[in-house]
Amino acid sequence: MEKVVLKLYVSGKSPRYKRAIEEAHRIREKLSGYDVRLEVIDIREHPEVAGDDNILATPTLIKKLPPPIRRIIGDLFDSDKVLMVLDLAPLGSKATEI
């Protein structure tokens, strides 16, 4: 199975980030044919980590694997569109331009 590594950067537990986390989980569900690893990092709790991936704003969702590395800032609403941007096609569908 193809491995997918997703990292979601949030700052805090506000409703916005809760929503973002929920949406990230929805996206993962859509990737059923993949071996998905989703990591949620709260940079309020771990500020030092922000620098590793050069996080400038939250929420930021980064697809580390498979390459190419893609990142989305802001709302994760509409998981299909998100997958498109991340260049991840749910198995059995074509990637299209945004």
């Binding site: 805090g12 800032i73 802001g74």
Partner: protein, 758 residues
């Protein structure tokens, strides 16, 4: 517009502008973006930013600056072209400040809402506790409902008040670990506690589950509870004391009042108890409306004294006590007023005091005065009577001697007869005086009223107007009554005098006596009489009569009339009759005359009328005077009497020794060389009374016989000497025969129990 112009715009715009290529790499960041990210252009360019995903829609992000600061921002993305390639322009607006302000506002709003709740709670409670005449229990229960909404979490709040041994709780009250309490103080002492509990755990801040404001609130409510309790208890105490005062005031016979005077002299009553209406005849209401009503009732002659009394009290700040007359119902009553002044803040004066009707007291004082006067008059009368009797003795004695010396001379005998009659009349008068002075000494003996009237009438007739005709209808078979002779004579005398004064001569007085039986069941006709036999004495005149008012008051000692009884008022008549268990009634009509009826209880069996020893009215001719041989010591201070005694005694055959003072008598008794058989002892001597002399002479001569000789009646000092052992008593003035008899009697040892003269 040139490129430079556009560059200027981009460079200076407040929003952050970032251009990101299709790979998500930053290609441009304007100075605002550099500032926002806290990085220089070199640090930002070529670094991955990410795709701003949604076209033309704002999305909220948090920017992380280099220093780690977080900025809330709004990001909008549009497509653009950069260096000929497709790119994305993200415009980012920093909302941090705005968000902060929003948050602060919300916070403040929340805080404000809480304060408003607390204030509303406190205000409602304050309004609640101001209600008058509400019990503390009611207030406590109502407060419970108001407390809960004042706290942050009313749904899980419960409360309890413990005060004065009682507890008031909200329905949901439970003891929990999250509690807030505040002590309730009453008159400075801890008397209870207010508790507010949370039923569930609530987020804790530094202060615990309750905020600082809630701490203030509970303290404020507890403080109000304490003060309310104090106030309610004070109101209850005041009401109780007012009720008590009112009870006292209403039940007191004295009129309690509070009277005020302003500095300019205006006066008013702030309180007058209701009993004033019965006392003076004006209602309390009227007086409080207009104080001059009561002041105007003061007797005109007493008004000045009254006013001055109050003024003096106002100046000296001392209580006043005034006695004055008041006009009531056309008559006069006596009032006593007391008042204690207290100065008022405005310069006026307040008096608290009482008014009392002392008419009865005054009457009694006057009566007492009268009695005292009568008493002293009595003493005077007694003294006069004594002197009179002494003088009379000289007259009668010498007149008798005259009669003896000139027993054959008709002319002289005519004169002496008249002289004796007059003297006897005088003696009778003095005996009246003596009886009066003696204070009505009561010595009842059985006798016939018819006989008494018959005996007394001749004397009284002399005092009447000759045009007044006196008729008698005296039943000879009247039953005996037991009466004091002198007193009944006085009664007859008074009634005759009254009758004659009521008559405009000519006129008629009718005196009658008869028997009467009061039947069982007919006592209504004769109120005050028990059933039984009575003797009735009635005196009827055809004089001017009296109206009902006068008749009603005729026995009243203070009722001044035109009837001036000689020596006695109708009151005394009444007293004498009732003292004899009798009754007296007066029947009169103006213009139709008066009938006075006296009822006296009759004696059941006809008793022998005892002959009165020493009867002075009956002039029994002395035919044979008993003589004797003995030595008689005459102890008497009046020279004419001493001479008379000597003459009489020597005529009777006795040897006479004289002593004119008590001391002389004792001296003689001790030193006389010879027998002294008898002493005639006067009661009144200049140096000591006969009572003191008696034991001294008896000591000197134990076998001495003593006859007490006095112008006074038997009772009193004379009786005392008799009780001490004296053998006889002779009242002045006496007939020679009486003296002679008595001497013989005593010397021969024939003394019986000495009968009183009257």
């Amino acid at each position: 517009m040139t490129v430079t112009d556009f560059r200027n715009v981009i460079s200076n715009v407040a929003d952050s502008i970032v251009i990101v290529d299709q790979e998500g790499i930053m290609r441009f960041a304007n100075p605002s973006a550099q500032a926002l990210f806290g990085r220089s252009l070199e640090e930002l360019l070529g670094k991955p930013f990410g795709f701003p995903r949604i076209k033309n829609q704002a999305t909220e992000i948090e920017v992380i600056s280099k220093s780690g600061e977080l900025h809330t921002a709004e990001m909008r993305m549009t497509e653009t072209v950069w260096e000929g390639k497709r790119a994305y322009l993200a415009s980012i607006r920093d909302f941090t400040e705005l968000k902060r302000l929003e948050h602060e506002l919300r916070e403040k709003g929340h805080v404000l809402a809480e304060r408003v709740k607390e204030l509303t709670c406190l205000y409602s409670i304050s309004k609640l506790i101001e209600r008058p005449r509400v019990s503390f229990e009611e207030i406590a229960r109502d407060i419970m409902a108001l407390i809960l909404p004042g706290w942050q979490y009313p749904d899980i709040t419960c409360a309890r008040i413990i005060l004065n041994g009682q507890a008031f709780t909200t329905e949901n009250f439970k003891e929990t670990n999250w509690k807030q309490t505040s002590d309730i103080f009453v008159h400075g002492k801890q008397a209870g506690v207010l508790e507010v509990n949370y039923l569930e755990e609530r987020p804790e801040s530094d202060e615990g589950p309750f905020s600082k404001e809630e701490r203030n609130l509970i303290d404020a409510i507890a403080e109000r509870l304490g003060r309310t309790f104090e106030r309610i208890k004070a109101e209850e105490a005041l009401r109780e004391s007012e009720t008590k005062y009112r009870r006292v005031s209403d039940n007191s016979p004295a009129v309690l009042y509070q009277f005020m005077m302003t500095p300019d002299g205006a006066s008013s009553f702030s309180h007058v108890s209701d009993v004033v209406e019965a006392t003076i005849g004006i209602s309390a209401e009227e007086i409080m409306k207009d104080s001059s009503k009561i002041l105007g009732m003061v007797h005109p002659e007493d008004q000045e004294m009254f006013r001055e009394g109050i003024m003096k009290s106002a100046e000296s700040l001392e209580s006043f006590l005034l006695t004055f007359r008041c006009m009531k119902d056309g008559g006069v009553i006596w009032m006593e007023a007391r008042g204690t002044p207290a100065p008022l803040a405005d310069g006026g004066m307040l008096w608290d005091g009482f008014l009392l009707d002392i008419t009865d007291r005054k009457r009694m004082e006057e009566e007492l005065l009268k009695i005292k006067k009568f008493e002293s008059l009595g003493v005077l009368a007694g003294g006069i009577a004594h002197e009179f009797n002494n003088a009379l003795t000289a007259i009668t004695g010498h007149t008798e001697l005259l009669e003896m010396d000139y027993s054959q001379d008709e002319k002289i005998l005519n004169h002496t007869k008249t002289m004796m009659q007059s003297a006897h009349r005088m003696a009778h008068l003095t005996s009246q005086l003596l009886a009066y002075a003696g204070g009505g000494k009561y010595n009842p003996r059985p006798m016939s009223l018819s006989e008494l009237v018959a005996d007394t009438l001749p004397l009284l007739l002399h005092t009447l107007d000759p045009d007044i005709c006196v008729e008698t209808d005296l039943q000879p078979d009247v039953m005996n009554v037991k009466v004091d002779r002198t007193q009944m004579q006085m009664v007859l005398s008074a009634l005759m005098t009254n009758a004659s004064e009521a008559i405009d001569p000519p006129g008629r007085i009718k005196i009658s006596t008869r028997n009467m039986a009061v039947e069982q069941g007919s006592t209504n006709d004769h109120p005050g009489l028990r059933p039984g036999p009575y003797v009735i004495l009635s005196i009827e005149d055809d004089g001017k009569g009296m109206d009902k008012e006068t008749t009603d008051r005729i026995f009243d000692p203070f009722f001044t009339t035109h009837f001036i009884g000689r020596g006695l008022g109708m009151a005394s008549v009444y007293g004498i009759v009732t003292n004899h268990n009798g009754n007296i009634s007066v029947d009169s009509e103006p213009g139709k005359g008066t009938t006075v009826t006296i009822y006296l209880p009759a004696l059941e069996a006809r008793e022998e009328v005892e002959a009165e020893v020493g009867e002075r009215i009956v002039s029994a001719p002395a035919i044979d005077l008993p003589t004797g041989e003995a030595t008689v010591l005459v102890i008497e201070d009046e020279e004419p009497l001493v001479k008379l005694f000597r003459k009489i005694l020597e005529m009777l055959g006795y040897r006479v020794l004289e002593a004119m003072t008590g001391e002389e008598a004792v001296e003689l008794a001790k030193t006389f060389n010879g027998q002294i058989d008898l002493a005639l002892l006067d009661i009144k001597l200049p140096d000591m009374g006969g009572k003191q002399v008696y034991p001294l002479i008896m000591e000197a001569r134990p076998h001495l016989k003593v006859i007490v000789c006095s112008g006074y009646a038997l009772d009193g000092p004379a009786q005392e000497i008799l009780d001490a052992g004296a053998e006889g008593f002779v009242q002045k003035p006496f007939l020679i025969s009486t003296l002679a008899e008595k001497l013989k009697e005593v010397l021969e040892g024939r003394t019986t129990i000495v009968a009183p003269v009257k």
